[in-house]
């Protein structure tokens, strides 16, 4: 076994790549190769919230008054969100930590996954409020074929990387006889599977989540299920940050400044990465069909949601340097932005959730020229 939980070798982590260098030993943050991950941690910590802070008592009544097909839309959407966060709450830790080489990145990954567990807890909070028996909803996630299809496409790149990475951590590089089958483990293939896994995570956070947010906010646009929308707003604020984290990782990889071989991997996988985005967009459109199979709701139907999928896919692909595949169009759900603005996530000023509060505390540097333009 070549993996060790505490690497005894003295390592200068400033010279290590993000992944597949020496494993991290001392969790120290006084020096950082990429301070951006430390900043993301600070921001994420300043966002801390608890589901119980949001009052859902009106939602219970709203839900009972919804038409049957609207209940289907609401619950299916919630099941999908539960699935996504179940996956994201555990897999970044399992997949990325064993091969991570920078302390600040390691801690960002843990902080990121932790915040996803808060999201999962909030779905229980929501479901417990609207259903007398939450098991109906949770159990269906592993029975409902449409959801299972989603689970398959969301988890397959994780599974493929985790399997190969475990073999690597157990046996090391080279050709190995595994269950009577010759398997070659190469660094290039490891990096390739890692990169593709990150692409699929990016797709999950950047497209799949946003499609589900659109449904949650569409109810609230009609002043229904507003407590739920408040929770989703807090989740969306976190997801925007996670998305930034993944975009940084992908762009650092592609730039080659972190690891030259990784840059070659990114270049070679460009087409595959684009296919992962397009495939996910198609799956989300199929999902839209399932959501609205019994009828639309005011403000949102299958066609509008599909247009939104294409719109958001174009934007997200552009952000990580890929070609946008769909015809350029304007945002078909312009009201989404107003829901996504985190400026008006309401917090009491005495709670230290306002991030500027925390930033102010951390940055206490004053230089002599700060008072230059100050006259008495």
């Amino acid at each position: 076994m070549q993996y060790t939980i505490f690497n005894r070798k003295p390592v200068n982590s400033l010279k290590e790549p993000m992944f597949f260098g020496e494993t991290v030993n001392v969790a120290r943050y006084d020096q950082q190769k990429y301070p951006i991950f430390e900043q993301l941690i600070e921001k994420q910590l300043s966002f801390f919230w608890r589901p119980e802070e949001v009052d859902l008592s009106k939602d219970r009544k709203d839900f009972q008054d919804l038409a049957e097909h609207e209940k289907h839309i609401f619950l299916s959407n919630l099941k999908y969100q539960t699935l996504l966060d179940s996956i994201q709450g555990r897999s970044p830790n399992i997949a990325f930590l064993p091969v991570c080489s920078l302390p600040e990145l390691e801690t960002w990954i843990e902080t990121w996954a932790f915040s996803e567990t808060i999201h999962s807890r909030s779905y229980t909070h929501i479901i417990r409020n609207i259903k007398s028996d939450p098991s109906d909803v949770f159990d269906d996630i592993v029975r409902n074929e449409e959801i299972l299809k989603r689970a398959d496409s969301v988890s397959k790149y994780y599974d493929s990387f985790i399997e190969y990475m475990n073999l690597f951590n157990l046996l090391g590089l080279g050709v190995h006889d595994i269950n009577g089958k010759k398997t070659e483990i190469t660094m290039f293939e490891l990096k390739k599977r890692l990169y593709l896994c990150l692409v699929s995570v990016n797709v999950l956070e950047a497209i799949r989540f946003y499609v589900s947010f659109a449904c949650s906010f569409a109810f609230a646009e009609r002043a229904l299920m507003e407590g739920n929308a408040k929770v989703i707003k807090l989740i969306a604020r976190d997801e925007a940050l996670h998305l930034t984290g993944t975009q940084h990782m992908m762009n650092l990889m592609a730039s080659g400044q972190d690891d030259e071989e990784m840059a070659r991997v990114a270049e070679e996988c460009k087409q595959q990465a684009e296919e992962i985005f397009v495939e996910a967009a198609e799956q989300e459109k199929q999902w839209a069909e399932y959501l609205f199979k019994d009828g639309s709701m005011i403000g949102l139907n299958k066609d509008i949601l599909c247009q939104y999928v294409e719109y958001i896919t174009n934007i997200r692909m552009q952000a990580v340097g890929l070609n946008s595949p769909f015809e350029a169009r304007s945002n078909p759900l312009p009201w989404m932005n107003a829901w996504l603005v985190s400026d008006n996530v309401q917090v009491a000023p005495q709670e230290s959730e306002i991030s500027s509060y925390l930033v102010g505390q951390v940055d206490s540097e004053v230089s002599a020229d700060d008072f230059d333009d100050f006259d008495l």
């Binding site: 925007a240 975009q247 934007i315």
Partner: protein
């Protein structure tokens, strides 16, 4: 007039905006809609390509931006700007 800058975006009529205001707010005041989300520099939704000019940030933003891109929500113009409208 040194407190105002000219912002050109594609072939739209140029707008004149105060230097002290975020570029996103200036664009919105002139009814030019671009994508936004967090309005505080960490989500990256409002990134646009900067073709000409210089901008400044109160504090360095968290979102990833390429060399030639700016985040309109938290940047202020220092000089006249030419921007490329993103996919909207």
């Amino acid at each position: 007039m040194s407190d105002e800058v000219k912002i050109e975006i594609d072939d739209l009529v140029p707008i004149y905006a105060p230097k002290s205001q975020s570029i996103l707010s200036s664009l919105e005041q002139h009814d030019i809609r671009i994508e936004y989300q967090c309005r505080s520099g960490y989500c990256g939704a409002c990134r646009v390509k900067l073709l000409e000019g210089r901008v400044d940030y109160d504090e360095p933003p968290l979102a990833f931006i390429k060399e030639n891109e700016i985040l309109t929500c938290c940047s202020k113009a220092i000089t006249d700007l030419k921007l490329e409208r993103p996919l909207t």
